[in-house]
C-alpha cells in the first residue's frame, strides 16, 4: 500500500513581504459611486413616484379627486407662506412629543416592574394583551368626557397608542437577552436598576429601537385621526385640523399638502433621528447589519 505513493519532498517557501503588494484598485465611476449611496437611490425612487403621480393626475384631469403633484407642491408652498402650515405642524408635533415622552416613561416603568418581579411580568403581559389591540381612537370619546376638548385628551390617547407597543417590544427584548450576558452583569455585582440600565437596556436595544419606531408611527396616526375627529370645534388645531378644514372648503390640493407634510415629517424623523440612533448603537455594536 505504502509503496504505491511516491515520497514527495517537503516544500518550503519564503512568501514575499506583504508591503511589496500594491493595492489593486479600480476607481469607481461617478454613476456607480452615486448608486452606492442609499440617499441617492431613495431620492431616485421618490422622484419616480412623484412623476407617476403627476402623469396619472394629468391624465385623470380632475383636481377634486387627485390634484397633480405640482399643484400639491404649490398648495404646500402657499400654505407655508400664508396659511400658517408651519405653525399647525408645530402644534401637532408639540402635542406628539408630550404624549410620546409620557408614553415612553410609563413603558419604562412598566417593563422595569415586569423584569423585577413575577407578578409584574403577569401584569404587563395581561395589560398588553388587553389594551394593545384597542384602537386609541376608540378611547377618544371617553377621553373627551374625562379631560375635555384640548391637549389633555389628545395626550391621553397618544399615551395609549405609544405605551403598549413600546412596552411589548421592550419586554420581549429583555426576555431574549442571552443568559451569558445576564450572568456577566450579575457577576459584576449589579442588581436592580443599575442592572436594567447598564446591561438589559443596551443588550435589548435592537427590540427597544423597533418599539420606539412603532410607537412613533402609532402616535402620528392617532394624533392626526384625533384632530380630524374633533378638529371641528377646536379653534387652534394642528395638521389634522388643517386637512379637515381644507376638505370642507374643497381645497383638495391643500388636503394633499397636509398629508404631504405628515409624510415629510415621518420621513425626516425616520431618516435623521432613528437612523442616526441605529448607526450609533446597534450597527456600531454589530447587533444589526
Amino acid at each position: 500500500m505504502a509503496e504505491a505513493v511516491p515520497v514527495r519532498p517537503n516544500i518550503y517557501r519564503d512568501p514575499p513581504d506583504a508591503t511589496q503588494f500594491s493595492v489593486v484598485e479600480r476607481p469607481l465611476g461617478l454613476w456607480e459611486r452615486a448608486w452606492n449611496n442609499g440617499a441617492v437611490r431613495k431620492t431616485v425612487l421618490l422622484l419616480t413616484l412623484a412623476l407617476v403621480w403627476q402623469l396619472y393626475a394629468l391624465r385623470l384631469d380632475n383636481p377634486l379627486l387627485i390634484p397633480t403633484f405640482l399643484d400639491t407642491v404649490r398648495a404646500f408652498r402657499d400654505a407655508i407662506v400664508s396659511g400658517g402650515l408651519l405653525g399647525k405642524a408645530w402644534y401637532s408635533i408639540r402635542i406628539l412629543l408630550i404624549g410620546y415622552a409620557a408614553g415612553l416613561a410609563l413603558a419604562a416603568l412598566l417593563t422595569t416592574l415586569a423584569i423585577t418581579s413575577r407578578i409584574g411580568t403577569d401584569l404587563v403581559e395581561t395589560l398588553t394583551a388587553m389594551f394593545n389591540p384597542l384602537p386609541a381612537i376608540a378611547l377618544l370619546p371617553l377621553a373627551l368626557i374625562w379631560f375635555g376638548l384640548g391637549t389633555g385628551s389628545l395626550v391621553f390617547v397618544l399615551i395609549h397608542s405609544v405605551l403598549w407597543a413600546v412596552a411589548l417590544n421592550t419586554h420581549s427584548g429583555f426576555m431574549s437577552v442571552s443568559n451569558t450576558l445576564r450572568m456577566v452583569g450579575r457577576n459584576y455585582g449589579l442588581r436592580g436598576l443599575p442592572y436594567v440600565a447598564k446591561i438589559l437596556v443596551p443588550a435589548a436595544f435592537p427590540s427597544i429601537l423597533t418599539g420606539l419606531k412603532i410607537g412613533w408611527a402609532f402616535a402620528w396616526r392617532t394624533l392626526i385621526a384625533a384632530e380630524l375627529v374633533f378638529g371641528v370645534s377646536s379653534g387652534s388645531g394642528g395638521l389634522g385640523w388643517f386637512i379637515f378644514e381644507n376638505k370642507n372648503q374643497l381645497e383638495i390640493a391643500s388636503v394633499f399638502a397636509g398629508l404631504f407634510s405628515v409624510i415629510l415629517i415621518g420621513l425626516a424623523v425616520e431618516n435623521l433621528i432613528f437612523r442616526t440612533i441605529a448607526a450609533r448603537t446597534v450597527q456600531r455594536w454589530g447587533m444589526q447589519g
Partner: protein
C-alpha cells in the same frame, strides 16, 4: 459510594503548609436542576478544597455536573445540600470576587469596546474610580497582547481574541478566584494550544487562583496543578490527583498520566470509552 482519595499527592504538603485554611471549601455539595418535570441531580455530595494559587481543574465527561458545580461556586445556583465557602464565608449570590470566564463568545458586552468592557467591570462593581480602572484595564489588555485592539468593538474580533478579552477582564478584577467554564472549548485546536500556553504564562506572572472546567484530558493535564475527576449522572468525585509540574514534564510522563486518568474515568465497562477527548 466510596469517594476515592488521591493516591499520589507528592507536592501537596508544602503547599498546604503555607496556605493554612483552603481558599475555597466545597463540602458535600448536592446540586439539582429544577427542569419542569424530572428533578435532575447534577452533582451528588461533592467535596474538594482549593488552595491559594491552585490551578484546580474539574474534569469529567459531559453530564458530570462540572459546569453546574462552577455555577454554584459562582453563586448562580444554591446547593440543596452541603455548602460552599470562599475564605470562610458562605457563597450566597454572584459577585466580583469570583469572576467567571464563559465558554460563549457573547460574554463581552457588544455595546462597549475592548477597553470599555474591562473598565466597566471595574467601575460597575465599584472597585475602582474611572481613571484608575482605565489604567488597570490597559495593563491587563497589554498582558493578553491586545493593546492594538483596545478601541475595537467585540464583533470585530476573532473568537480567540474575544476569549483573551474575557480573561483580561477576569484578571483585571483581581478576584479571589477566577472561574473558567471551558473557556477554550469553542476555539480551533491551534488557537486553543496557544491560549493554554498564554494562560500558564499569565499564571507564572501573577499566580492567580483558578478553577477551570474542561472535558478534555490533555487540557486538564496541561492547565491543572490539581485535577478533580468526576463521573457522570450524577456527578460524583472519582479522584483528586496532582498533575505534572508545568513546563518540565516529558511527553511520556504526560501520556502515562492521561492514560491513567482515561482509565479512571472510563473504567466501567458500561461507560462510553469513545467519549471525545480532544486536546
Amino acid at each position: 459510594m466510596d469517594i476515592a482519595q488521591a493516591d499520589a499527592a507528592p507536592a501537596r504538603t508544602e503547599q498546604a503548609g503555607t496556605a493554612g485554611t483552603p481558599l475555597l471549601d466545597v463540602r458535600g455539595v448536592t446540586l439539582q436542576y429544577n427542569t419542569r418535570e424530572p428533578l435532575v441531580t447534577a452533582t451528588w455530595r461533592v467535596d474538594f478544597q482549593v488552595l491559594r494559587s491552585d490551578r484546580f481543574v474539574l474534569l469529567g465527561p459531559s453530564g458530570c455536573g462540572k459546569s453546574t458545580l462552577l455555577k454554584a461556586v459562582g453563586g448562580y445556583l444554591a446547593p440543596v445540600e452541603g455548602e460552599i465557602r470562599l475564605k470562610g464565608e458562605r457563597i450566597g449570590r454572584p459577585g466580583p470576587d469570583r469572576m467567571m470566564v464563559f465558554q460563549e463568545f457573547d460574554q463581552l458586552l457588544p455595546w462597549k469596546t475592548v477597553l470599555e468592557n474591562v473598565t466597566f467591570a471595574l467601575t460597575a462593581s465599584g472597585k475602582l474610580s474611572r481613571r484608575e480602572a482605565a489604567d488597570k484595564a490597559s495593563h491587563y489588555i497589554a498582558k493578553v497582547n491586545l493593546s492594538g485592539f483596545a478601541n475595537s468593538y467585540p464583533h470585530t474580533l476573532s473568537g480567540g481574541m474575544k476569549q483573551r478579552v474575557a480573561i483580561a477582564r477576569g484578571m483585571a478584577m483581581e478576584p479571589d478566584i477566577l472561574l473558567m467554564d471551558e473557556p477554550f472549548a469553542a476555539l480551533d485546536a491551534l488557537t486553543r494550544r496557544k491560549m493554554q500556553e498564554e494562560l500558564l504564562q499569565l499564571w507564572d506572572d501573577t499566580r492567580f487562583t483558578v478553577l477551570f472546567v474542561t472535558h478534555s484530558i490533555p487540557e486538564a493535564v496541561i492547565i491543572g496543578s490539581r485535577i478533580l475527576l468526576l463521573t457522570p449522572h450524577p456527578g460524583r468525585v472519582k479522584a483528586e490527583i496532582e498533575s505534572l509540574p508545568h513546563g518540565h514534564a516529558d511527553a511520556k510522563q504526560r501520556g502515562e498520566l492521561e492514560d491513567s486518568i482515561h482509565h479512571m474515568l472510563f473504567a466501567d465497562p458500561g461507560a462510553a470509552a469513545t467519549e471525545a477527548t480532544h486536546g
